[in-house]
Structures are given as structure tokens and as C-alpha cells.
Symmetry: C2
Subunit: 207 residues, 2 copies
Amino acid sequence: MSLNKTGLAILGILSRGPQTGYDVKKVFSSIAGHFWQASYGQIYPLLKKLNAQGLVKHKTHKPNLRQAKNIYALTAQGRKSLRHWLRSPVESHPWRIEILLRLFFGRQVPVAENIRQIEIYRRHKQDEILRLEEIERHLREEHAEDPDQPYYLLTVDYGQKVVRACLDWCEQSLARLRELEKQGYDKQKAKPFDCSNCESLAKKHDK
Amino acid sequence: MSLNKTGLAILGILSRGPQTGYDVKKVFSSIAGHFWQASYGQIYPLLKKLNAQGLVKHKTHKPNLRQAKNIYALTAQGRKSLRHWLRSPVESHPWRIEILLRLFFGRQVPVAENIRQIEIYRRHKQDEILRLEEIERHLREEHAEDPDQPYYLLTVDYGQKVVRACLDWCEQSLARLRELEKQGYDKQKAKPFDCSNCESLAKKHDK
DNA sequence: TAGAGCATGTAATAGGTTACATGATTAG
DNA sequence: CTAATCATGTAACCTATTACATGCTCTA
């Protein structure tokens, strides 16, 4: 009965009504993709697994001899599993942020290179903002009658707030790095430095 | 010559000076863990692989007959690979945010349940803030002479800004859900809703 | 002398991406 | 007729977590 988060996501999507694997993918590509993703290579095998576990059932729809599509629907068991998960306490998950990994080793290249990277990152975040605004507009216009709309809007709002915080950070960091550059940071000697006290931080974290 | 992000992270950590796999892990557990993580099960095999590729070399230090530890150091090739990566443009990465996945299906449970989840999530984020402040304090006090300090502080600042944005969102979302609850949202009929126009959003995204 | 920390590693498993492969239908 | 969209699926591969296994050293 082990079930991963993406499996539960699929159950959740099917709770909105019966649909094909292809339809499920569209949800991940449209209104849910900004906080969760899944590929066909995951969706089809998972639907099979959910079916084997009795959490979904499918009807094969044959409009003609050659073609068939599988329409999946939640079972009572599936709805129960979904609701059980929704009531279990949410956990904390670590983040992986590549721009920070790069900046952490920033001294290995000239300051100007790091400035360039943040400018690229800022463009990505600006694109994300546009995408989120597009989703918000869609939700307000096309989902005005959708009973799920209030919850959907919460997810978009999260994205907008976080991405705006990223953009704030970009501006501030660019200013700081330009200042560093002016102060001749690149010309400093690379004296080795070792902090033995980092251990005490690590200790607390691993508990 | 394929090399993943965590492999590059290890190269980066070794650029601060030769050290053991155990030492590398401590960096992920202390000042780098808030934006990148790696377990022993990843670090030791990766060090072996990096060694095979000539990006790191190791000396086996034997303080006595029984014990041995492997001290790894970057090679010229390794330093070159690291710098090459640092100059390549950073890409955009999707996020997976479990609290949003849950809220997306929030209508499946009473509003009070979703409020409870956001309160739990808020506690996680408050803990993260404390952790980040601890790291910042450590960096300001113990790394005052560290030439990498300015870059390290940038990574902490990112975390603080983003987590504070999350906390803002928590407050606002809690207020909205309390309002929804008051308005009798839970008693609404669950009319089925299907948005055919979601497809147009999906189309743009998949391009 | 017991517990915490130092130190290295493997095996099983889980989770996910990408490319490949196939073929029908529909709109311009 | 041709391009886009609908629709399903597999195989190879990569990345990462967890549990397990081992044994030394130092400090209270």
C-alpha cells in the first residue's frame, strides 16, 4: 500500500472527475505545474499501479475497432486514501537551489561572472512571474464558477510571493556584487581558510 | 565526462582545501545544507567516480596500521571543470511544494483541516528562519576573515527572504480560509466543473 | 567503559527523466 | 495532404535515500 506523492497527486486530479492519463498530464502542464510536475513516463505506470491497488478503476472506451482510450476514475478506496493523506501532517522538505550552489563557489570566478549569472536567473524569475499571472488570469476568468477556485488561487499566490522575494534578492545581490567588484575583490589574495566551528552547526542539524 | 550537480558541488567544496568524504558531508550539514544536500551514500561513490575521471586525487593518510583515511584534493582538471561549470548559464528548475499539492485538493476535506496544515507548515518555516539566523550568526562571527564570506552571506539572505515570503503567505492564507469557513464553504454542493480552456495554458507551457 | 564522534563503504530500493515507438484523428 | 493533437506505453538511465555493516579514537 505504499504510495508516493505523485501517485497521490494523480488520485487528487481524478477526484475532479474521470479522465485519461493524457488528461492528467494536462493538469500538470497547466494549473498545477508551478508546484508539481509529472511526465508520461511516470503517469502511465502509476495509473497501472493505482489500478492494481484498487484505488482507481478504468473503463476502456472504444469509439471504433482500432482505437481505445482508458478513462480512469477514483474508487471509494482511492477517495479514502486521498482524504487520509490530506489529513496527515505536512512535512518539511529541503530545497535545492542551483544559483546558490554556484554563488557558494563564486570566488572561483571573477565577480562579473556571478553578476551575469544572477542576471540570467532574474530573467528566469521574470518569466515565471508572467506565467503565474497568466494562470491567475485564467483562474479568475474561466474558473469563476469552479468550487475549487479559492484553493487554486492560494497556490498561485504562493508562487507570486516567493518569486517576487527572489527578484528582490536578485536586485540586492546585484548591488552588493557591483560594490564588491568596485572594491577590488577579484584582486585579493586567496588565503586558505578553515572553520573548525562549522562542526557545531552540523551537529545541531543532523539531530 | 558527464558530471551531475552534486558532483560539481563536491568539486566546489574541495576547492576550499583537501579533505575527507566525511568532511565534505559536514559542509552539507552546516553552511550549505539550506540550499543543497548530499548523503554519504552519494558522496563516497561520487568521490570514487571523480577520482576515476581525474578530477580529484587522494592521499591515504595512515596515522597507524589499523586506520586509514582518504584525503581528497582537486586536480588541475577538476578545478578547470568547476570553473567551466560556474561560467555556464544557470538554468530554471521546477519546484515541488507539497503544501500546495495538498491545498490544490483542499476541497476534499473540511476547511479546518487545511487551516491546520498551514499552521503546521508555518511552524516548519519558523524553524527554518531560526536555522538560517543561526547560520548567519556563525558566518558573521566565525567567518569574518573568510574571503568567501560575502558569497556565503548571499545564500543565507536568499533563504531568509524566501522563507519570510512563505510566512507572509501563511498569514494571508489562514485569514482567507477562516473567512471561507465562516461563509459556509464546507456546506456547498460539490458541482462538477470542467475547464476545457485549461488546454490552451498547457499548450503554451509545453513549448 | 560507554557513548559520541570519526571514518568508509555497499546494497536495495525509490523516484524520476528522456528517448523511443506506435498509431489514430482532426483542422487547415 | 500535412501538421498538430490525441493517446498509450516501454526501456534505459540517472539521481538519491535508507538501512546496513564495520571498526577506530577520544572524552567524561
